[in-house]
Symmetry: C2
């Protein structure tokens, strides 16, 4: 069982920190094999930001993501660029505010940035909301593992807000019929 | 021209954050091709932490580090584990406090943790001191590029201390005969 995940957005949206947190949750707290990668090319100056996380039950021999199982896009540019790398039946999650044109039917559109802004007062938490939603939708990592690695990666005084961001994302990621009954 | 760098230590020493800062400095601020990778296996629970950064003038086709040009070790465990991956004429930098037995002649031993503790009051800054020393010794990235990416990755109120950490590392990394005349 191997899952290739890409988190993509623009600089400042925190996708690299999110990928580090996701990798630690699966690797350190669940003992799985994980490779987490960022690549920068000449386009890096354009402000695009992306990070890949591969989570596997077996050692990962080839560490570069080739065909994504999961793609999360926090910007239109990311959606335009990376949907071609997603498997036909892959899971796509897009931000409802920043991605206006979804390149593929069946993507899950979630108000991640808006939730961060309205519920927590700052879009800064969008990346953590994203992780909660990702965990709920894909089941690739447990919420409690994310909580542990968040605690390791954010300032102590911001911990409560970050935990709340995870919980909000977890709720956001529930299927509509589950909403309000679980989470 | 391609440089494969590994930063290694124990959890909490900040080697992953350091690798993200190094990758951004070279990738975003110098427009080079960069791949930054963390891997976790079952050993991750042991508290070891490592991150690889490959910096190249050409696109990087194989993103996994195989033969290191540069290895920085902040723990004895890291030194014991990774020196075999360093090229024969590779550059080794070890922390003078945490690495008591150096596995190879010619490693550069620097008081990075001690400098952070005595000059800045907290070992927390060891990873940033390390980056300053690494830049000075290897020339792989400019100090000003590191300053820009540090500013993007640390809390605003900690920026001055982090800049000072970079400068202290830069000074520490000077060859003995340069010390006090440059930096």
């Amino acid at each position: 069982m191997k899952t290739e995940i890409r988190l993509a957005g623009t600089g400042g949206q925190g996708v690299i920190l999110a990928s580090v947190i996701l990798a630690e949750a699966a690797g350190v707290h669940e003992g799985r094999h994980v490779v987490q990668t960022q690549s920068y090319g000449p386009e890096a100056r354009g402000g695009a930001s992306r990070a890949d996380v591969i989570i596997s039950d077996e050692p990962i021999l080839y560490p570069k993501s080739r065909r994504l199982d999961v793609l999360v896009c926090l910007s239109q540019q990311a959606a335009d660029k990376y949907f071609d790398d997603l498997k036909v039946h892959g899971t796509a999650i897009i931000d409802g505010f920043y991605v206006r044109e979804c390149p593929r039917e069946g993507a899950t559109c979630l108000s991640m940035a808006e939730t961060a802004r309205t519920e927590l007062g700052r879009e800064l938490f969008t990346n953590i909301v994203m992780l909660g939603a990702l965990a709920r939708i894909t089941g690739v990592v447990k919420l409690e593992s994310l909580e542990k690695s968040v605690a390791n990666r954010v300032p102590v005084k911001a911990l409560d807000l970050n935990k709340r961001a995870l919980a909000l994302g977890w709720e956001l990621g529930a299927r509509p019929r589950d909403r309000g009954t679980k989470g």
